[in-house]
Subunit: 596 residues, 2 copies
């Protein structure tokens, strides 16, 4: 098992220096966001995740969760429950929640920084608060006052947790197919009946009550996604007055045996006329669901970031310690029996891939979450609109790319370990198994790609993208005369121009053939991610150069950026070529002829 060292220095650099979040927080009037306090909180988060959560990661993987078939109760891995208790006592469950609801009202982007540490330390454990956070967002934005009082406050206080009950066995990406029914009862509540699958945290032993947010259909609901409503269904009944009553008719029927995230329980939940309350308007459940979902998508992006960084740390340590073969350009440590792995160029290629994607992803994700803060806290309509458009554009990129890169980087990190990486005890293979779910849940990479190209570019006419391009252009112009940045600004400007052209080109083709969107979408998504990261890396160098940092730090950022531009950014060429080949190579073969 590798230890975890929270990257506090780089988080501060990204959030406070590159993204200039303090300035934004002041502008938004977030009184709680005092720098001294935030620095202290980051140190506390580092301490908690390093010393409490990280040591439980392998234990969670080994033990998994256990269902008692008779009672439907789930026991989480040893130590998980106690860690949650410490988390609650530390006030972490309410870190970014409104003060009026008992929270500390810190910015969401600041919460994201803490969340990265949680996910890096123990992704499975982090899923429980992640789901509560999603439920918090849905209740905060769509719940009635009494619902906030009765359900939201205990979730924010950590006394209860939340879930998202969307998927059914026959519908994953396609929620329009869902069958769970809701019937109005005489007292104004609803009876919910149906079976949901893949419910993270659907049952556990952290808290007495669990608040399920459940998508279901009313009897007269229109077919498809326009006939979906959202309901609150507590495990233990709670009256409108907040009085806790009997066990509700919802029960965990079984739990899944998964490739990874063993400590995060995945439940089949049976609702058998369970008592529930409608959130928001009938048949408008998808709106509320998207509030949860968008939050959760950024959160899963952060999971990807956490895994990249954690597995990189393991690989880096190993590459420094493990002696194997001599450098091709002559022994570097002739007094030792062999040179450390880190002298070998391809080991460096793998390490620097992880490093440049970790630090780059951090800027991308933290910036996206600052837009959530603007959206939630700005009083200026135009500013909120701008943030909304940009966030809508960046969310699928953040979710998909950070999770795809997590899969790539956990692969590289394991490879650095060689055969030792394949053995459970080094911990590297767990990261790879845990990473594999992140490109699937909360919308697969394919769904993110359709959201980006089909909705954010085509339907919304690229409003968010134009704002992002303007940011890049402004940055390039502001730094055009700095010779030390030319090596980054010139290629950035060029690939940004190509990105715009490619977008127009794909968009035009899609007007005459809707399948062009699907055919181009995933390559377009990757292309967009690589250009976005080039922007953030150029900004990182600009920030480091301009700031009061040690020379070593400046060198580190500059060389990592150089690596990114030389070795990672050229991937866009393959994506562009694939995209430009259009639909024919994908659609020509009859489905009956796919067999070998």
């Amino acid at each position: 098992m590798t230890a975890y060292t929270a990257p506090v220095r780089d988080i501060k650099f990204a959030l406070f220096d590159v993204i200039e979040a303090e300035k934004l927080y002041k502008h938004l009037g977030i009184a709680s966001a005092d720098r001294e306090l935030m620095d202290a909180v980051l140190e506390e988060a580092a301490k908690f995740t390093q010393s409490v959560l990280a040591p439980l990661n392998a234990i969670g993987d080994d033990h998994g969760c256990v269902l008692d078939k008779n009672t439907g109760a789930v026991t989480t891995p040893p130590g998980f429950k106690e860690a949650y208790q410490q988390f609650v006592e530390g006030g972490w469950t309410g870190l970014t929640a409104p003060e009026a609801m008992g929270g500390q009202a810190l910015p969401e982007s600041f919460g994201a920084a803490a969340k990265e540490m949680i996910d890096a330390a123990n992704l499975s454990w982090g899923n429980y608060p992640l789901l509560s956070h999603g439920a918090t967002e849905a209740l905060k934005h769509h719940g009635e006052d009494w619902q906030k009082e009765v359900f939201l406050k205990p979730i924010i206080a950590g006394r209860w947790t939340g879930t998202m009950c969307l998927t059914e066995s026959h519908c994953g990406s396609d929620l329009g197919l869902l069958k769970t029914r809701a019937e109005l009862k005489a007292d104004g509540s609803y009876a919910i009946t149906g079976t949901k699958i893949f419910i993270t945290g659907g049952e556990h032993d952290f808290t007495d009550n669990i608040i399920h947010l459940v998508l279901a259909r009313l009897p007269d609901a229109p077919a498809g996604v326009k006939g979906i409503s959202l309901f609150i269904v507590p495990k233990i009944k709670v009256s409108r007055e907040g009085v806790v009553g009997d066990r509700n008719a919802v029960r965990c029927g079984s739990i899944e045996h998964k490739m990874g995230i063993h400590g995060s329980v995945t439940c089949v939940m049976n609702f058998d006329g369970a008592e529930g309350y409608l959130i928001g308007q009938p048949n408008k459940g998808l709106n509320a669901m998207f509030t949860m979902m968008n939050t959760a998508r950024l959160a899963v992006g952060l999971q990807g970031l956490g895994l990249i960084d954690r597995s990189y740390q393991g690989a880096l340590q190993y590459a420094r310690d493990r002696l194997q073969m001599r450098s091709l350009s002559g022994a570097k440590f002739p007094d030792k029996p062999a040179d450390p792995l880190i002298v070998h160029p391809d080991i460096r290629r793998m390490l620097l891939t992880c490093k440049s994607l970790a630090e780059g992803s951090r800027m991308l994700a933290l910036h996206a979450t600052t837009l959530v803060d603007v959206l939630e806290r700005s009083g200026d309509d135009e500013e909120r609109k701008a943030a909304d458009e940009l966030l809508g554009f960046l969310t699928p990129i953040t979710k998909a790319l950070l999770t795809e890169w997590a899969n790539e980087c956990t692969y590289h990190a394991l490879q650095v370990f060689g055969g030792h990486g394949y053995i459970a005890e080094t911990g590297m293979e767990q990261f790879a198994r845990d990473a594999r779910i992140t490109t699937i849940y909360e919308g697969t990479t394919q769904i993110q790609a359709l959201d980006l190209l089909g909705r954010k570019i085509m339907q919304l006419q690229g409003a968010g993208m134009r704002r992002f391009l303007a940011m890049i252009q402004a940055f390039c112009e502001a730094n055009a005369t700095k010779p030390e940045l030319t090596e980054f600004i010139l290629p950035l400007a060029e690939v940004t121009r190509q990105w715009g052209e490619l977008t127009m080109e794909v968009g035009k083709k899609a007007m005459s053939n809707a399948d062009e969107v699907g055919a181009a979408s995933v390559d377009y998504l990757f292309y967009s991610g690589y250009v976005s990261l080039a922007y953030w890396w150029a900004r990182a160098v600009a920030t480091a150069n301009a700031g009061d940092y040690p020379e070593d730090f400046k060198t580190m950022k500059r060389e990592t950026a150089r690596f990114y531009f030389a070795r990672i950014l050229p991937r866009i060429h393959s994506h562009a070529a694939a995209m430009r080949s259009g639909t024919a190579p994908l659609m020509a073969l009859d489905a009956a002829l796919f067999d070998s």
Copy 2:
């Protein structure tokens, strides 16, 4: 769990039609290689792998292997031992072994076709015969007559199995560091002492005896790889006369808990003055080891191929059955609640990636193994030299690419299943876990890349590559006037030209800086793999066009080739750009500054 259907049609197409193996077998005078017999054997192999091995795959993953710490005995998963007994009774252990040793003397390339099926059906189980095959090759080429009689015959008969004991805890890729000692005893045998790790099949319950081939150092051996000798160390002692004696002082100390291939036992083997016999000359163990290793590298490439095809079969079935969302270009099955996944362009992209890499890899791998046949059976020195050079060039490409693609394709196949792919019961996640070892064992992708660029291109001055380029050129010239092939021949000729240029370019840079080899090697390896497959895909279309096949088959091959050229081959652009950026972006950052 997905069923397995052995791709007999495509194996015959690749081996007999595209590669024209029958003609070669006749030329080499391989009497056993009668087409009617071979067709019957392929059908038998299909039957055995589909009905016996495939159903044991998930069982092997679930149960794993169990070590009795007291006796050092290992119990393999339920059914594995019985399947091995059937395998032996069917005569499969001697399929390609010489008749004089009790084998059936079928060509190695034909054996490779059967091996693909074994690996697709049950990779873990297949590791036991794989290791025996490696030991067979080493004994066949380097063993003394009595050693062949006493040790080789029982292995070929399947009564005993073989292992390769190379790795020690401090030396994996770097065998020069190994410490296991061998001391000559009065009777001419040796006492072997040391600990080997990662020994596949080091202990099991298939057979009474296990023949370990062990790398060790003689007392006066030079340091490094020039002081390594190879020894036969049986689990149960066997005299030079073949009399089976007492238990030898070799014992399995523990077994590894791994990410995948749970049915394939991975042992720590303790040699405590165990009785062994030298194979070949003292200090020349590396030669004999490379005989095993090259065989094993092609074999692991076939494992990759097996996993690509097996996971593709699962994904294809699911994509046809699973209804989810409507086609963007309008409902394709309006009478159903949703369209099947296979209507969606990006699902097709993932499927066709797997399909084109599976069928392409099959041609690449089977062709490489025909060179083994030439090397072993041709009486013409020049022909053998040519085969040897070409095989040396194609082995690292085959091993590395087929296993890297196995990781990519098992990723795609799981992704097609969405959340259901992450659950153990669908079987898809096992393929991904099993695939992960294949880019590591028998030489990591990094080692293959250095072998290709450092040794086969630089040291051997590209002799093998020139032969391969000549094959491509001859094919392009022979088909230059066929308009239906132009779309493949033109880009193939062009990328082949670029490949040659790039090779010269990298080679030149490497003359002045040895680190250039390491910096370019993995990208060069991938580049080479993609061009190689373009050649095979062009040949596949040419063969299909020219032959007496149903129109549907011709269409299928042509469209899959088009997909490959449009969507996969462009990956070379990114690899070329990365390579051309040279060593600086990799080597500039001081090892101390890699932390975030």
